[in-house]
Symmetry: C2
Subunit: 198 residues, 2 copies
């Protein structure tokens, strides 16, 4: 921003590189940091370093963790014969928030996307197949409901079905709280297709 | 977010406390930090500490600076008989970006706001009066165009005029690039009031 302080300019430049943070927001954040107490800024700097230092991938499910294997993989309370496959760690968080799912997870680390050059070898697919062969009864595919997620779902289903276990996918339909009137055609088609008996 | 990593949760919590950053954005930022290289995260932590360590207020104009007095106050190229009064340091940056103004600044550190308990003693007004008495020819009041900025402008004008110098305010009118049709009544009134001869 060309202020009278190179340190401030440097921090603004750093913030600007974060996703979704423009120059104006970066400037606002940097000026906010200026107003914080020294202790608080130190704690923030430490929090950044801690994350980089402590967080790793679980060697089993590939979710982010600080202890390997992660707390979900080692929990005696989780149903070990059930694995939910997701694209990213954030998806694990989203599902965990519901408190409904009691099985294990497998984080692919992305989705198949020929356009972005992401092929099967770039995802944690082999380790999923290895896990699937070890007494798993059901695998739930929970990819994002878009073209690439769809392709990934079909690809995985084709690999997993020959292993003789149950392969399911999460339902696509109308999100709770919306109006049928405003839903797109694709969503309504999927909702009709996935109708269940009452 | 209740992930499997306390360090990540801590960073998300830190980010959430920044202005304009909600829980979802904080989570996205924290996961982005995870993907950065160690060196880059270290540099970011250092940038935070540097700002807190190096940045101070200029003892003359109260703008943020690393050297006291600041580069603007000591510059031989600036017109020393002209002072532009602004609310915050960000306003200095905004004016500097235009490359039009060649005088000095005075940062008040806020504006008069009885509702928020900000009175004249909470702002750098006395130091402005001291500076104004030292050979200054014109003081430009550049408060934000709202009720509190207006009150501050009138208050300062009443204090400064008896010192026998020229006191001006920046123009209020239609911003460049907008439509007269969509301007609010107040803005149109000010634009008419401030009309200039062609």
């Amino acid at each position: 921003m060309l202020s009278t302080s190179p340190s401030l300019d440097a921090l603004v430049a750093r913030f600007s590189r974060l996703p979704g943070i423009g120059r104006k927001t970066a400037q606002r954040l940097a000026l906010h940091i200026l107003k914080l107490g020294t202790e608080e800024v130190r704690a923030m700097a430490q929090a950044l370093l801690d994350v980089k230092e402590n967080v790793r991938e679980c060697s089993i499910c590939r979710n982010i963790t600080e202890e390997d294997p992660c707390a979900i993989c080692t929990s005696p309370k989780r149903e070990r014969r059930l694995i939910c496959v997701v694209e990213e760690s954030t998806d694990v968080l989203a599902i965990e928030r519901t408190n409904e799912y009691k099985g294990l997870y497998h984080v692919l680390g992305g989705r198949l996307s020929p356009l972005e050059g992401v092929g099967p070898d770039d995802l944690h697919i082999q380790s999923l197949l290895d896990r699937a062969a070890q007494g798993v009864e059901e695998i739930i595919l929970a990819m994002n409901p878009n073209v690439e997620g769809e392709a990934t779902t079909l690809y995985l289903a084709r690999l997993l079905k020959p292993l003789g276990l149950r392969v399911t996918r999460i339902a696509r339909g109308l999100p709770v709280g919306t109006d049928l009137e405003y839903a797109d055609n694709d969503t309504i088609s999927r909702a009709l297709e996935g109708r269940i008996a009452l």
